[in-house]
Symmetry: D2
Subunit: 179 residues, 4 copies
């Protein structure tokens, strides 16, 4: 379509929107940090929520992650408002088990710190601890078909980053920054 | 959200919608078949358009492909109507280069016949032959940010299927069916 | 390198080798089937081991799966024999947490029936039930860095196939064959 | 297998080995940089080889990339020496078209800077410009089944990094570092 003549990407706006949309949909950074603690407590018992929040923030600075968050939340909101066309509307509205585009977007988030995060993603996506249980509640009027996978994926990616950084610390290297 | 009590997946409807939405968005099976010919003519000079159409039809029967087609086209249509929220609206409307969710959905299509299709996907996505050139035309009022990647991915997947089947024929096996 | 003039792919040999190598490395189809039961018993309580074995066999007929199985087992065996070069030898020998090529090959297996299998893969890869516990035992002289991920991935893919087929049965369609 | 009691990951060694193995297999950073120029010259005509080399170096610092490079080159070398088991030996030795584990490892490299690199990977993998043509030469005694895909993937990832950085420059942000 005709490119708006004034279009130019504003990265700060995209980063802000990512945080705002997560907040508006009921997800706090601290709740994702709790998932990270859940995944990592056996390996790093000293991890604090505050430290994990920094890792989550770091994940959220990645453009690939921002794109997936915005796209997934948008689809959830449109499904909630009944504005998608049938039969896509019904599949997303009902979190159809054979619909996997939510997992696909989630995997693109996990990937930003490499393949070592796949396992953690699958694990929280199956067990649905903490905020994931709330997002996955089918009894209320909200639709979080994409968001619950996305939040699990952010926690898994943050866990991968922790693994890389803790190794750097063990080796006395500066390593990747927390944020 | 509250599951509609009457919801049950109707696979035939999803398969039909996939074909209908592609047609409505200006993409004919024969045009995807032409992309397949473009990709495979050096390896299988005797391939006909009719045969390639059967391979394309086979790709379109896969649930994973149908999900990606419906989701991508839906996002394109909503962007065209200006119904997405900013800044996602502007990114999709302008086919932003740093937005990669279109490539992600496309890759899930390529994957249905394995990783050998990645190369073919990238090649047509870069060269934009045939229908891809038309879809990618920025001068008209249509938005095909997702669809052009999706159509290239379907052609790449069909090419992978051909490679598997031709090998089966060489070995005198029955091999995977055309459709 | 110079192609052997006599080379031509023999698909039957690759399929046979896949089964033989799994057997030689201590993995029986029935043990993978038990993982499938573990993953699916809550959804389909009537599933039998025999039925699940057929689904596992179906996964193993896929070329993409065969390639990953052979490549992963070969790397495990070479690591066991100390024949890889340092530092790759040490990473695979010690199942290094920051080495993710095993997860990557596993994901290519999960992908053959679509993205809905990611969750199941991560879940068994974390919990290590049944045969996965044995493969993952660090106390003996065997190296199964690749194989334990591969076996979990085959079980996850078989579970995806079950989900597709059971839906087909619900709809009174013929659906994808068990084997 | 029994973990060597003295094992501990040495990240510096893995980074060094990655560069050494590439060099030993005949690939210079400058040759990968030429592929980046090939991919990016239409968008950024002022790019120099020296700048592109810095981007390539940045890609090579990523652990995920290092793992894939070492694993792929190791398999190539073993195939060259005839030390893999049949039928895997023949498939890798002959760069079998239906064997896709090389593309899978390559994609894990492309992924480190997100999905926008898929297209560039496929494009150079098909056209085989520069060093890729030499690696892909079937007439000599070398086997580069994995390496040619890996080198193309490094060039594609470097191109993605350029796209991210040039956007940051346009916006007056500091952006991701070159190296």
């Amino acid at each position: 379509m005709t490119k708006s003549s004034t279009y130019s990407l504003n990265s700060a706006k995209i980063a802000e929107a990512t945080k705002e949309w997560l907040t508006k949909r009921g997800v706090k950074t601290s709740q994702i940090a709790e998932l990270v603690i859940f995944l990592q407590k056996d390996y790093f018992p000293d991890l604090t929520i505050e430290e994990c929040e920094l890792y989550v923030e770091a994940v959220l600075t990645k453009r690939e992650v921002q794109n997936a968050v915005l796209t997934g939340i948008q689809l959830d909101m449109l499904a909630e408002q009944g504005m998608l066309l049938s039969p896509l509307q019904e599949m997303i509205e009902n979190d159809e088990g054979l619909y996997g585009c939510d997992e696909i977007l989630a995997l693109s988030i996990v990937n930003v710190y490499g393949s070592i995060g796949f396992t953690n993603f699958g694990y929280v996506d199956k067990l649905k601890p903490g905020i994931l249980k709330k997002l996955n509640d089918k009894e209320d009027a909200d639709c979080h078909t994409f968001l619950d996978d996305i939040v699990g994926a952010i926690a898994a990616a943050a866990s991968s980053r922790i693994a890389h950084r803790k190794q750097a610390e063990r080796e006395g290297r500066v390593g990747p920054p927390i944020d």
